[in-house]
Amino acid sequence: MAIQTEEDQGTWTVRVSGEVDLYSSPEMRKAVVEEVPASADVLAVDLEQVAYMDSSGVATLVEGLRESSSQNRRFVLLRPSPPVRKVLELSRLDMVFDIEEGDE
């Protein structure tokens, strides 16, 4: 798994690629929960390049959503790949997230 982050005009974007599993999720958690700059009013997690995600990845996204809500920050998932979509649907959490399919 690889993580890239950038801040641009109040949007903190986290680009995730590769496999998000029990062992790599803590790294994604840092980017979507712990290291989000206080100045960001939007947190966008780009999931287009994610090849695999297990329930630890979904749980981490839920944590990011919770934390963002408590900070009045918008939390959005960008272009979730088919494996991500599948695991969100299986855990019946696809309705919980704000999902954007379009270009940036």
Partner: protein, 265 residues
């Protein structure tokens, strides 16, 4: 052969012994990725021993087990542990800890084997409980649940680490037929939803029709028949016929052996 090409578990010539007593004698079969493989056998057939070997709780006396093209039997303990983390085990008595809530029972493998934060683990455990239909029962303690609910909680715990393979030891033991059918339905649901390879050890004929893609009939430590349920039911082997028609076993007694054992006392 396509069956070999997509095999996730390959068992070749597996033998197991307790002291001088041979429990498994040259057992061989292949489990395809994503199927429900039912190991059917009566008491003492060796099916639980087979399961213990598959999940690495026992080392075989002979033969090998290949998981995901890796020789499980040749691995050292550290490598075996890494493989075992990708296998979920659902024990016969559910093996839940009565002093912990159902949620904490499901969370336990994650707390033991990962470095995930407690808050992440908590959400994962809730997702798993919802999957097995126990979303509202996380705060309950195992003794407060019915037998069927405890089985479901055991399934949720076996699913905690997102396994590739899940093994069930007598999942319907001790349940009435309606509740047992519910557990079978859950096994099928987990397999269909996650394309989860499932190995089910049972003596329940009803489960064969409800869930089996492949049945393997085990008797006296040997495989008597293997294949799709319809094919296995047509097997001409006398014991397979006897099992499927539920005929009682003839009482076997070696009189000489009996006399000898008595007189030598």
């Amino acid at each position: 052969m396509t069956q070999q090409a997509d095999a996730i578990i390959e068992v070749d010539g597996l033998s197991a012994r307790y002291g001088a007593h041979t429990v498994l004698d040259g057992v061989s079969f292949r489990v395809r990725r994503g199927e429900i493989f039912v190991i059917l056998g009566g008491s003492g057939s060796g099916k639980s021993t087979l399961l213990r070997n598959l999940v690495g709780l026992m080392r075989p006396a002979a033969g090998r087990i290949v998981l995901n093209s890796q020789d499980f039997t040749a691995m050292d303990e550290a490598e075996r542990l890494a493989v075992r983390k990708k296998m979920g085990m659902c024990f016969q008595g559910s093996a839940l800890l009565n002093s912990m809530t159902v949620l904490d029972n499901v969370a336990l493998p994650l707390r033991e084997h990962t470095r995930l934060k407690s808050s992440t683990i908590d959400i994962m455990a809730r997702i798993k409980l919802e999957l097995v239909g126990l979303g509202r029962f996380g705060r309950y303690y195992p003794p407060e649940l019915s037998g069927g609910m405890r089985k479901r909680a055991g399934v949720a715990r076996a699913m905690a680490m997102d396994p590739e393979i899940i093994c069930y030891d007598e999942p319907s033991a001790g349940l009435d037929p309606v509740v047992a059918a519910g557990v079978d339905k859950l096994i099928r649901k987990m397999q269909q939803t996650f394309h989860l390879t499932s190995v089910v050890v049972t003596h329940e004929l009803a489960s064969v029709d409800l869930i089996a893609d492949t049945v393997c009939v085990l008797h006296d430590g040997q495989v008597l028949a293997i294949g799709p349920p319809d094919e296995v039911k047509r097997s001409s082997h006398p014991y397979v016929q006897q099992f499927f028609s539920r005929q009682p076993e003839a009482e076997v007694s070696d009189n000489n052996e009996y006399i000898r054992s008595i007189t030598q006392l």
